[in-house]
């Protein structure tokens, strides 16, 4: 996407609405204009600005497979002013969509390599598209390790999907919860503690991380200490976005516009910036 592009929304329709858990909803959107629908394409890790009429716009990652760009999936957690009415939309309702924006995950560069996915909380939404992408093209990638951390065991969405992924012979799934709750199948503690329990191959693995910044910082430091090159660690960052296209200045981090140069960055690009509080 060129800077300044996609500044005018296009009309989208909620084609399907799935309640994933209390407060988390997946909306599959369809652009109503056939021409716009034909032209639309995206990479896993990119995001759209979704606009609720009369309320506002928010940045939401695309969580569906790029092979089916006509049904654009977004998994949204209800947290405030715009996401409240957004998750309340019904099938058939219309909204505004601008995008896709930013740089996604380095999937082409990761072919033939192992992939380690580390997520925290709803960080799983932007990387679920990566996992689905790899699962649909399984032979092109090496071992896939999925580590997902949540605060409360009850926060975990898509448990059946994790179970299905774990059945793939070249895929390992690790779950961690700070507070396990009933029937928690995974580890109790931090997601980074799972690094000790899985087989990691530094130098042969692309690492994709998404979640709260302290979790990603800790995870990246830990992996660097275990011999992972900083160029192999990829982080999806969150900043305030108004324009999405590199013009409004809200998402700046040091020299970067997160919406345009990211949201996915190599740790070698942003590690030193993230280490400074309040930047």
């Amino acid at each position: 996407m060129r800077r300044g592009g996609a500044w005018l929304p296009r009309e989208a329709e909620v084609a399907e609405r799935v309640e994933e858990s209390p407060g988390i909803v997946t909306l599959r959107l369809r652009l109503t204009d056939p021409e716009a629908r034909r032209q639309y394409g995206f990479q896993p890790g990119q995001f759209n600005m979704l606009g609720v009429f009369g309320v506002g716009e928010v940045a939401i990652s695309i969580s569906s497979d790029p092979g089916d760009p006509e049904r654009i999936g977004h998994t949204i957690r209800r947290v405030g002013r715009v996401t409240n009415p957004l998750v309340a939309l019904d099938e058939g309702d219309r909204l505004g969509l601008r995008g896709p924006f930013g740089r996604g995950w380095p999937l082409d560069r990761s072919e033939g390599r192992d992939v380690l996915v580390v997520t925290g909380g709803l960080g799983c939404a932007p990387v679920v598209s990566v996992i689905e992408y790899i699962m649909a093209r399984r032979s092109r990638f090496g071992r896939l390790t999925i580590l997902q951390g949540v605060k409360h065991g009850a926060d975990l969405i898509w448990r059946p999907r994790y179970e299905a992924w774990a059945r793939d012979p070249d895929t390992e799934v690790g779950l961690a919860a700070d507070v396990p709750g009933e029937n928690w199948p995974g580890h109790v503690g931090l997601v980074t503690e799972l690094f000790d329990r899985v087989r990691l191959r530094p130098g042969r693995t692309a690492v994709m991380m998404c979640g709260p910044e302290p979790m990603m910082r800790a995870g990246a430091r830990e992996l660097v200490a275990r011999g992972f090159p900083a160029d192999d660690l990829w982080l999806s960052l969150e900043r305030n976005h108004h324009c999405g296209n590199g013009r409004c200045g809200h998402c700046q981090l040091g020299p970067y516009f997160v919406c345009h140069d990211g949201p996915v960055f190599a740790y070698s690009q942003v590690g030193s910036l993230l280490a400074i509080p309040g930047l």
Partner: protein
């Protein structure tokens, strides 16, 4: 093209020629004690005989010159003319169960600005890069293309000016249609392009003569020499990025009110926010963009967190972006040396002084 000479008594012909050519004219006038760009219908509307006295946190006008442009700059650069403080980007309409999105056409007609300074043109050239590179911003582009710029070479810098050290002044070198050098007896005039040449041809000018050109050059050179402040001319990116944890940020934060005056008056600051403004019937909703500032808490808000929570964080963002991050983003510093942020800071914070202080070792002499 060689400079021509317009005697002082024929100066009114400039505004007349511009108006005859269909331009609405803006020029320097006094409003609430400061010189700002406002509508002029004739040369007599332009302020005359004034000098400005600028210092950190202070701006005053005095009488007593025989010239039109013997002052440095006022609070408004050209920025509000191209990147307007508030405007509607698009409008959403409910229509038969669906939504229609449409963009208003900006209302623009030919507009001439008399009295743009070198720093203003440098700021405009940077804003051009920000808003026009990639997919051009249609609103900025329409407003930019209709501008006719009459530059004036600076001969009376303020104490707050330092354009000589940033390489952006005091001589206007680019982005103008006409450029004036004011002498006591009149003006040297040169064109910077075909539109300017057309107006120049319509003016009752004379041969300028070498002596007048020499005098005008000497005045501009003296204006460069007279500047009291400076920024190091080297790229400060690594210097600033390497001092993100310097105690000076906390110190300046004790004086900074986080008011955003500096970003408002700065000719290069581009930050803006978008706001959704529905009508009362709920049928139409406007998406409005307005100037924003990295000094507000909303600028770095993400759900539940203000990333830059303190004034120290925000001043650091402002200075390191302006003088550091701009090099990565635009290949040069974002400061053109106009000194506005120094003059219009209510507590007189001076970025040249802050840069110097950051160069000192923490705890050193």
């Amino acid at each position: 093209m060689a400079d021509r000479f317009l005697p002082r008594d024929r100066f009114p012909a400039l505004v007349e020629a511009l108006r005859d050519a269909g331009y609405r004219c803006l020029g320097p006038r006094v409003r609430e004690g400061a010189i700002v760009m406002e509508e002029v219908e004739r040369a007599a509307d332009l302020c005359f005989g004034l000098r400005d006295r600028q210092a950190p946190g202070s701006y005053r006008l005095e009488e007593g010159t025989g010239r039109h442009f013997a002052w440095a700059n006022g609070p408004t650069a050209l920025k509000p003319l191209t990147f307007v403080p508030r405007e509607t980007l698009w409008r959403a309409r409910r229509e038969g169960g669906g939504l229609r999105f449409e963009a208003p056409e900006p209302e623009v007609g030919p507009l001439a600005v008399i009295g743009a300074r070198a720093c203003d043109l440098a700021g405009l050239a940077l804003q051009d890069r920000h808003f026009l590179e990639g997919e051009p911003d249609p609103f900025y582009k329409a407003r930019r293309e209709r501008l006719f710029l009459v530059a004036v070479n600076c001969t009376h810098p303020a104490d707050t000016c330092f354009c000589a050290s940033t390489g952006d002044g005091p001589r206007a070198e680019h982005s103008f249609d006409l450029v004036l050098s004011e002498l006591d007896e009149g003006f040297l005039v040169a064109a910077g392009g075909p539109a300017g040449a057309d107006i120049l041809a319509a003016l009752p000018t004379e041969e300028a003569g070498e002596e007048r050109n020499r005098r005008a050059d000497a005045e501009i050179e003296a204006a460069a020499q007279a500047q009291k402040r400076s920024l190091p001319s080297r790229n400060l990116r690594d210097f600033l990025f390497g001092r993100q944890e310097h105690p000076r940020w906390e110190e300046v934060a004790e004086r900074c009110l986080s008011c955003g005056n500096c970003t408002n008056v700065c000719p290069t600051c581009f930050c803006h926010s978008q706001e959704t403004v529905p009508d009362l019937e709920g049928e139409v909703s406007d998406q409005v963009r307005q100037w924003d500032s990295c000094f507000t808490s909303g600028h770095s808000y993400i759900h539940g967190i203000v990333v830059r929570a303190t004034t120290a964080n925000r001043y650091r963002q402002w200075l390191t972006h302006k003088l550091g991050g701009w090099h990565d983003q635009f290949g040069r510093s974002g400061c053109v040396g106009c000194g506005r942020c120094i003059t219009w800071c209510p507590t007189g914070i001076d970025l040249t002084e802050e840069v110097a202080a950051l160069g000192e070792e923490p705890g050193g002499a």
